[in-house]
Structures are given as structure tokens and as C-alpha cells.
């Protein structure tokens, strides 16, 4: 169980709160949608849950343990812009091997061609690069996946293809997924349960 308990966050002592008293949980194998209009701190919350930011108050735990600071983090975040989340001076195969290398059939399922592996990031399109960023996180060490507007910049066909491959994998490996998006039809289609930050200030659960 991935639990973010009473999370508060602000960037500095005098700054306004970005995240206020949010409690959120994702069970293994569950797909949870997180919705809110722009500026409600969706991305900040996602970064808190994945250990990119440390909450000012409250704490994040995975299966009863706090997030590790040094080892491989069992909660992995996929960013919205793949161009920024890969080193432009690395080749694709090096990027894929940075964590735990994904298996070959995973790459096939995501539609990653072998010819891409020797290229540089700028030689792939945004959609192709996003598949690389996703493939990098799909390995045996990842227990929870946070998709922060993961497919917002892709066309509907590619979105469907990528989500099918990702959900096939997460269902069969009991990985919890948090889908951060403001695309209501997509979230309703994918998720077992949906949280709306705009209305859940006191952890109200908006059921499907």
C-alpha cells in the first residue's frame, strides 16, 4: 500500500502552501485517478509521493516503510515531457539501462523498435521518447507507478496503445498506478477509483 498521510508542502517557510493536508492511498494492482484543475498541486503531490520532494509535514510510506532516499525507489514517476527526463547526450539503450533494464517483450509491447536503441533522444519523436521513459520504469523493482499527465501530448491511438501495454503489465505484476490527469474521459476509462483534489479537501472520495 502506497500511503501519503496528511501531506503538507511549501517551497520555503514564508511561501504559501502548495499542498495542504492531503491524504492519498493506492493499493497494489489498483488504478487510481487523481483529477484537479490546473494549479491545484497535482504535480507537486505526485512528486511528494515519488520522493522527488520531501513533505513539509506528514509522510509517505510504501508497505509500512518510509520511501528510501538512496536505493531504487519503489515508487516511480513518469513525467509529462519526455524530452526533459532523458539525458540528451545519452543513447537510448543507455537511458533504458539506467535503472533495472526492462525485458525485451516489454519493449515490444510498448512498440519500441530495436533500431531506436542506438539513437540519441533528439532523433526520436515525443511519443517515441515517452515510451522509452515508461519502459525505463517497468521493472521488477517498481511497485507503484505515478503517471503525471503521461500521455497528455499524444494522439488518441498512441494513448490507447501505451495505456493498454502499461495496464497489462501493472495488472499482471500487482503494481499500483496513480493516473494524474485532467482528461476526464481518459481517467474514467482507466481507473478503478477517482480522487478529485478540487472537492476532496477533507479526503472526500468521488466514486465512479
Amino acid at each position: 500500500m502506497l500511503i501519503g498521510k496528511e501531506l503538507w508542502f511549501r517551497y520555503a517557510a514564508q511561501m504559501p502552501w502548495v499542498v495542504q493536508d492531503q491524504t492519498i492511498s493506492v493499493a497494489p494492482g489498483e488504478v487510481v485517478g487523481l483529477m484537479a484543475p490546473s494549479g491545484f498541486g497535482k504535480t507537486t503531490l505526485a512528486k511528494l509521493l515519488a520522493g522527488y520532494l520531501i513533505p513539509t509535514k506528514g509522510q509517505v510510506s510504501v508497505d509500512g516503510q518510509p520511501l528510501p532516499r538512496r536505493r531504487y525507489c519503489p515508487v516511480q514517476l513518469v513525467f509529462q515531457n519526455p524530452e526533459l527526463s532523458v539525458n540528451p547526450r545519452w543513447r537510448i539503450d543507455q537511458i533504458l539501462r539506467e535503472g533495472y533494464p526492462p525485458q525485451m517483450h516489454q519493449l515490444d509491447a510498448l512498440g519500441i523498435h530495436e533500431g531506436w536503441l542506438t539513437r540519441y533522444p533528439h532523433e526520436l519523436s515525443g511519443g517515441e521518447l515517452q515510451r522509452i521513459a515508461i519502459a525505463r520504469t517497468l521493472n521488477s523493482q517498481t511497485r507503484y507507478l505515478i503517471a503525471d499527465e503521461m500521455t497528455a501530448m499524444l494522439d488518441a491511438n498512441t494513448q490507447a496503445l501505451i495505456w493498454r501495454a502499461v495496464l497489462d503489465y501493472t495488472r499482471s505484476h500487482q503494481i499500483g498506478v496513480l493516473v494524474v490527469s485532467h482528461d476526464w474521459p481518459l481517467v474514467r476509462r482507466l481507473c478503478d477509483r477517482i480522487l478529485d483534489l478540487a472537492t476532496m479537501h477533507h479526503s472526500t472520495l468521488v466514486s465512479q
Binding site: 527526463s85 547526450r89 545519452w90 540519441y120 525505463r136
Partner: protein
Amino acid sequence: MTTLAPPQIRASEKQSNRRQQTLWTIGLCAFFLAAIILSTWVIGDAGLSPVLTQRNQPPSLAHAFGTDWLGRDMLTRSLHGMSLSLRVGLLAATVSALIATLLGLAAGTLGGWVDAVICWIIDVCFSLPHLVLLILVAFAVGGGTRGVIIAVALTHWPSLARVVRAEVLQVNSSDYVQLSHRLGRSPAWIARHHMVPHVIPQLLVGLILLFPHAILHEAALSFIGIGISPHLPAIGIILAESMRHLSTGYWWLGVMPGLLLLLSVKAFDWLGENLRALLDPRTSQG
């Protein structure tokens, strides 16, 4: 269709040639500069001694750069001078690049007050006129070859330090470095695999582009008389001497060493530009 086919082939040939062209330019520039530095060992000191029977001779086959008012071979003197200038420039630019790397890395990674202090020093150095600072430092440490090296080394690092700092800051705050931490990579591993590939090309190119500055400033200091001592054939001294003879029609005394200086500086420039193109994945395969 048949008429369209040949241009396509030519286009692909041209594309594959650009990388080779870059490599050739790098090789030729490096060879040219190495040849100048090593030339003094090959030609020896023979041409440096006065031969009074051959004074003021214009460029000819025997003396490609002519001879001066003491009958010394100008080609030998120019090569000696250029070799000395290149070695001084090399040393000063390397020291400068080292200072720039250390300060840039410290400012970029430590941040906080360290960053503030280093940025303040960089701003102070930038706010002073470069040549004035150069003359002050060279004068303060007593002039001579040592003075030139110290002055050039101490005044050329700020721009490169700023570039290194910006590069480190940018890479450090990027998503892929944050992600690398979350993938369980250690700070040392990240420094080695994410930072170094970004900083090294900047540094290499910065170092090479520092040479022309260092050489020109060395020549400038020698020209105004507080640089390398007058009995050594430095390029700045040769140019300063030639000034007195320009009005008497001995144009080759200034023009030929000047052309050699220009060519050497441009060689460094081309070397730097082409190396940059080769090291950046965006241009290395084009």
C-alpha cells in the same frame, strides 16, 4: 525519375563528407599548431644570429619571410616567437581553465553563499577592463615571461567559470538527474555519467577558445613592453620592433609575423568550433 536520381546520390555523399570534413579540419589545425610548437627543435637557433651582409632583404626563396635590419632570418624568428607564444598561451589557458572548472563546479554544486561569493568575484573581474587588469597583474608580479603567464592565467577564467557553473546548475536541476537519484544512483555515479559528459565538451571547447585570447594578450603585453623580455623572439616583441621599420618600407617585418599570428589564432578557432560540432550529438552525425 532517371534525371532525379543523380542529385540524390550526390546529396548523400555530401552528408557523409561533412563529418569527415570536420575530422580533417581538426586534424589539420592540430597538425599545424603542433608543427609550429615543435618547429624550433627542427630549425634550431641558426637563423637567430645576425648576418650583416644580408640585411633588410625582402621575402625570397632563401628567406621566405625576409630578413631584418641585423640580417636575421624572419621565418626562424617568427617561428621561434610563435612557438614561445603558443607554449605560454597553452600554459596560461590550461591554468585558467582549471581555475574556471574548480570555481564553476564549486558554485554550481555547493550553491548558497559559496555560489554568491564566486559569482561576485566573477562580476568584479568582468566589470574591470580586461587589458587594464592584465597590465596591473603583470606589473604587480614583476613582468617578464612569468608575469605574462600569471596575468593571462588569472584574468581569463571568469567567462568559462560562468559557463561551467550554468551547465552544472542546469544539469543538476534537470528532470533526468532527479530521476537518476530515484533510480537509486549515487551522487558520484551521477556526477560521472550525467555531469561529466555535459561539462567536458564545454571545457574542452572553452579551453581551446581561450588560446587565441591568451596568445593575443601575451602578444599585447609584450608589445607594450611589460611582457616577455626583449631579447627573446616573442611574436609581440617582433611586431613591436617592426613598427619602427614600417615607415621605411620594410613591410615584411610586420606583415609576415602578423599573418602567422593570425593564422595560428584562426587555427585554434577552427579547432574549437569543429570540436564542438563533433562532440554535440545534435551536430556530430549531420
